[in-house]
């Protein structure tokens, strides 16, 4: 199930029909070859949601590139193919799938699986076969300190997730002093929380409450109730979808109203408001990407080069893929954009390298400074960590997501303090 | 022959029920003893006090002069007290041979015994109890009386000093019952095992088996003596037999 070549069904049909013809010496204007990109994706299990989005984001970009005629590498034109298998969010599945992709499906380049546990499992195999892996779903910092040569990060690392949110508070309310952090005890959320804590302190905030809750927590009342008395100015934290929703809902129910609530992941999902109603109002979130970002070929920053679809194009391609896959009319989440950006970064690097040799492509990535629908992309040559990409801050206002920070990208002013803040 | 077991004024109550009421008796080495009595007179309870499944409320149990009242069952097995269950409890998923071999391995004679030896001992015992041909059959597939024979075989394989049999012939045809009695007698003679049996309610067997009969009634020892005396005793006839045999 190789998807991506937009004319696929037609192509396959003509291909079989025209086989003899081809042998008889039918010469296309230009020789088009296929470049295969593969990925173990979490389409079932706990990361299924992210996996599905990633898949559609990647396919959207692959389709876009093919519609542009593919990529040019050393005189040849390549169309992209995208091959994927479900890894069930399970590291033990990842290994054999990665090997199959590389050794049997002849995939030259990989998107890494979701989460650091899965990526770590896949890495030795990828490195053994010398394949490049682009981490589009793992915001982990740690994995990039382990000396892998072929793993490259696309999204902003976890430790810097709340940087923009805290910057925003500092800028609009110099009075705000106290910060409470409540996060899910997991690798990702804890890295975020610790990063946020030290950044907040560096900005002069006082972190008055720093507590976590177990993954799979069903009731956060115990950890939240004390906040009613503490009454911090800012509350940030969360972890993932389920707990993020729970956190928002219970903060609301228990009547905890700081000046600002910033949560990870969950509020970025379009139906956050449908699910929570009024409890969602005013909640802000850091986001790798939002459909309304204003990155465009018209505002390319110094030293960066534009590549890929515009934001609108990306959304349009995404929607088409989603419809094809029976998902209906949905908007891409930032996971989709992450994966799409990964494909772009890879494609450009291959073009730059002028070769399919992984070493050369990896080299080329070091000098790449891309500006895309996803914003800036640039990696640290040493570790492969993402250093170019910035987060935006979104907020739910009147049942709508709006970008409120950074100022130059914002659609609206932040709603601050939160409605109902007792002060 | 010396004294093997002594029970000293043992009592056991369950809630309001007095199952044993100051029972005392002793057993000499090599004896064949039967304990009989009406239903609920405390035979099984007494049995369980001796093998350690129940702790008596009062009184003491001595084995070879040693106070064993506080010892757990497996420790008593080590000292040489083996038992069979009233409802047979073989290991159903293991073969007859394996069942018996385990008895040999873990009984009081099992120290330092190799698996191969245990298996060969088990084969011998299979012959002694007459389960030939069933060695490889899973114990769970035996008939009820065969299971009882297996219980007996397993107990013999443990080479105990004292063997306690609980209703071993119940449900057996007279022929089988006789064979079991003969086996037990043979085992006593060959292996020097003392046997106390609660051969309950089948008088013909009691008469054939026991050298001494103890009659229990309402948690006490009513009387004891040779089968000949006891089974004719009017009190026994009254509380237990209903009619003279």
């Amino acid at each position: 199930f190789i998807l991506g070549d937009r004319g696929e069904e037609g192509a396959t049909a003509t291909e079989t029909g025209a086989r003899e013809g081809a042998e008889a010496g039918e010469t296309p204007a230009e020789e088009v070859e296929t470049l295969v990109i593969g990925a173990p994706l979490s389409l079932s299990g706990k990361y299924a949601k992210e996996g599905e989005m990633s898949l559609m984001g990647a396919l959207a970009v692959v389709n876009w590139i093919n519609d542009q005629g593919g990529i040019k590498v050393g005189g040849k034109t390549y169309k992209l193919e995208f091959i994927f298998y479900d890894d069930e969010s399970n590291p033990d599945r990842v290994v054999s799938l990665v090997e199959k992709l590389i050794a049997e499906d002849n995939v030259n380049f990989l998107l890494a699986p979701y989460s650091s546990g899965l990526t770590a499992k896949a890495a030795p195999i990828a490195e053994k076969y010398g394949a490049i892996m682009l981490s589009h779903g793992g915001a982990s910092d740690k994995i990039f300190t382990q000396g892998y040569e072929f793993i490259v990060q696309i999204l902003t690392p976890a430790s810097r997730y709340f940087v923009s949110v805290l910057d925003m508070v500092k800028a609009i309310d110099p009075e705000a002093k106290t910060v409470a952090i409540v996060y899910k005890e997991s690798e990702f959320a804890r890295t975020v929380a610790e990063g946020a804590k030290s950044y907040a302190e560096s900005l002069g905030f006082e972190v008055v409450y720093f507590k976590s809750y177990p993954a799979d927590a069903q009731d956060l009342t115990p950890v939240l109730q004390p906040l009613k008395d503490i009454n911090p100015d800012v509350l940030i934290g969360g972890g993932h979808f389920a707990d993020g929703q729970l956190l928002a809902r219970q903060l609301y129910e228990l009547g905890i109203k700081p000046k600002l609530i910033g949560l990870l992941v969950a509020p970025a999902i379009p139906d956050f408001y449908d699910n929570l109603g009024e409890a969602a109002e005013g909640i802000v979130y850091p986001s790798q990407w939002e459909p309304k970002v204003k990155y465009s070929p018209d505002n390319v920053p110094e030293g960066y080069e534009w590549y890929g679809p515009t934001v609108e194009e990306f959304i349009q391609y995404f929607k088409e893929v989603a419809r094809e896959r029976g998902k209906g009319d949905i908007m891409p989440s930032y996971h989709a954009a992450d994966a799409g950006a990964a494909i772009l970064f890879l494609a450009k690097a291959i073009e730059k390298a002028g070769s399919l040799d992984p070493e050369k492509v990896r080299e080329a990535m070091n000098d790449l400074a891309l500006y895309t629908f996803y914003g800036k992309l640039k990696i640290d040559p040493e570790t492969g960590l993402q250093v170019g990409h910035d987060m935006v801050v979104g907020q739910w206002q009147n049942g709508k997501k709006v970008i409120v920070w950074p100022r130059e990208a914002s659609e609206a002013d932040p709603l601050y303090p939160l409605p109902g803040y007792s002060g | 022959m010396g004294e093997l077991l002594r029970v000293e004024s043992v009592s056991k109550r369950f809630g309001g029920v007095v199952a044993l009421d100051k029972v005392s008796f002793s057993v000499d080495e090599g004896e064949l003893i039967a304990i009989i009595g009406p239903n609920g007179s405390g035979k099984t309870t007494l049995f369980n006090v001796i093998n350690g499944i129940l702790k008596p409320d009062e009184g003491r149990v001595y084995f070879l002069g040693r106070d064993i009242t506080g010892l757990p069952p497996y420790a008593r097995v080590r000292l040489g007290i083996a038992r069979t269950f009233q409802v047979p409890r073989p290991w159903p998923g293991l073969s007859v041979l394996e069942n018996i071999a385990i008895g040999a391995l873990f009984g009081s004679g099992g120290r330092g015994l190799g698996v191969a030896e245990a298996l060969s001992q088990a084969r011998n015992i299979i012959r002694v109890v007459g389960l030939e041909g069933k060695a490889e059959v899973l114990a769970g597939q035996l008939t009820a009386p065969e299971k009882k024979l297996l219980e007996l075989a397993r107990a013999i394989a443990m080479k105990p000093r004292l063997l306690l049999l609980d209703e071993i012939v119940a449900g057996m045809s007279p022929k089988d019952a006789d064979r079991v009695v003969d086996t037990v007698r043979k085992v006593r003679d060959e292996y020097g095992i003392t046997v106390v049996s609660m051969v309950e309610h089948v008088m013909r067997v009691v008469a054939r088996f026991a050298e001494r009969v103890i009659v229990m009634h309402q948690g006490r020892i009513l009387l004891e003596g040779s089968p000949h005396e006891v089974l004719r005793h009017p009190k026994v006839v009254e509380v237990y037999l209903g009619v003279a045999p």
Binding site: E88, E99, A120, I143 | P90, F106
Partner: protein, 347 residues
């Protein structure tokens, strides 16, 4: 016991032979089939998981739902060894030392848990061990020890110890070879136990623990011994699969109860209490999974059915069909139906 029980040794080798032969075939396939080595390694992992798990479950009838805690203990033990060495050097020593520490930690955990939980029976035991596993996980996270919820990352340290190339080898081929070795050890241990006093005692316990106790078998001693052996093998498995092969030991991953459930599935699919069972179980389970994921789903996908990610919907009914057709497991079914010659081999 006599110095060497030749009888036991002979019978156990005879017993082990078919399973060892199967593992050898897998080993050959590992090298012979290009691009499938990791699939085979994965089957191997599950076979060993089943094998090690089965030592305790198959022999005693007790189900240790928290079994994965041993794998976790091993993974942490191995990582600790590496972290200890990483400042000091010591090169390849990290593997034997890591396995040793993994084994020690797993054994101590088994001893401790066994002494407490093995007083419980049946489902009570099974669930108490879940408690142990979860309790440990949240202890690590809550007290923020051993890297807390972030876990231990040891790839860099291994690279420091044996170099990039060395690590690469260690994390792939070498780890898989060690896994094969572990498979052999597990099979031999199992068959050796089965042929000795201990095996007889354990089987008696499985069949009727009270009767075993009444017969003078020191039930607790044997249960704990089997628990510890099973635990040590599990520890080694965790060390190899997560620490050596994965390079990351993260609580959310290594304490995942799903692995225990999968171990049970493997064992039951193959047949509990048999040596070949886990191998067959792993072949079926992973084979079905891989096939439905990599071969069936794509076919459906190209037929316009968006099936990727839904292959578990295909897998689940197959699992159900297998278990209804052969509730004793595949090997169990063969055993109860086959003529006695084959039966002997299968056991």
């Amino acid at each position: 016991m006599t110095v060497i029980d030749w009888f036991a040794l002979r019978t156990s080798l005879k017993r082990a032979a078919p399973a060892l032969a199967l593992y050898t075939i897998l080993l050959i396939l590992y090298f012979a089939v290009p691009g499938k080595s990791q699939l085979i390694a994965q089957i191997l992992f599950y076979a060993v998981l089943g094998q090690a798990f089965n030592i305790f479950m198959g022999m005693t009838g007790y189900v240790d739902f928290g079994y994965v805690a041993f794998l976790a203990a091993g993974a942490y033990g191995f990582s600790i060894a590496i972290l200890l060495l990483s400042g000091v050097g010591g090169g390849w020593m990290f593997i034997p030392l890591g396995l040793l520490i993994a084994a020690i930690i797993a054994a101590s955990l088994a001893g401790l848990v066994g002494a407490i939980a093995l007083r419980l029976r049946g489902a009570y035991f099974a669930i108490a061990t879940i408690g142990v596993n979860e309790g440990l996980r949240y202890l690590v996270e809550g007290l923020n020890i051993l890297g807390g919820s972030i876990g231990l990352y040891i790839v860099k340290d291994m690279k420091e110890l044996v170099g990039r190339e060395g690590y690469q080898l260690a994390a792939t081929t070498l780890a898989d070879m060690l896994m094969f070795l572990l498979a052999g050890v597990a099979v031999l241990t199992t068959s050796l136990i089965l042929s000795t006093r201990m095996g007889f005692a354990l089987q008696a316990i499985r069949e009727d623990e009270d009767a075993a106790r009444a017969l003078g078998i020191n039930v607790t001693k044997y249960k704990i011994a089997a628990f510890m052996i099973s635990g040590v093998l599990g520890g080694a498995l965790g060390a190899l699969n997560w620490a050596l092969k994965g390079g990351v030991v993260e609580p959310a991953q290594v304490f995942l109860i799903l692995y225990t459930v999968e171990a049970i599935v493997i064992v039951m699919l193959g047949g509990a209490g048999t040596l070949l069972g886990p191998i067959f179980g792993a072949l079926i389970y992973i084979g079905l999974n891989f096939t439905s994921n990599v071969y069936i789903a794509p076919v459906l996908e190209s037929a316009g059915i968006k099936a990727t990610g839904l292959h578990l919907i295909i897998l689940a009914p197959i699992l159900l069909a297998v278990i209804i057709a052969a509730p004793q497991g595949l090997v169990g079914a063969i055993r109860s139906r086959a003529p006695s010659r084959l039966r002997e081999i299968v056991v």
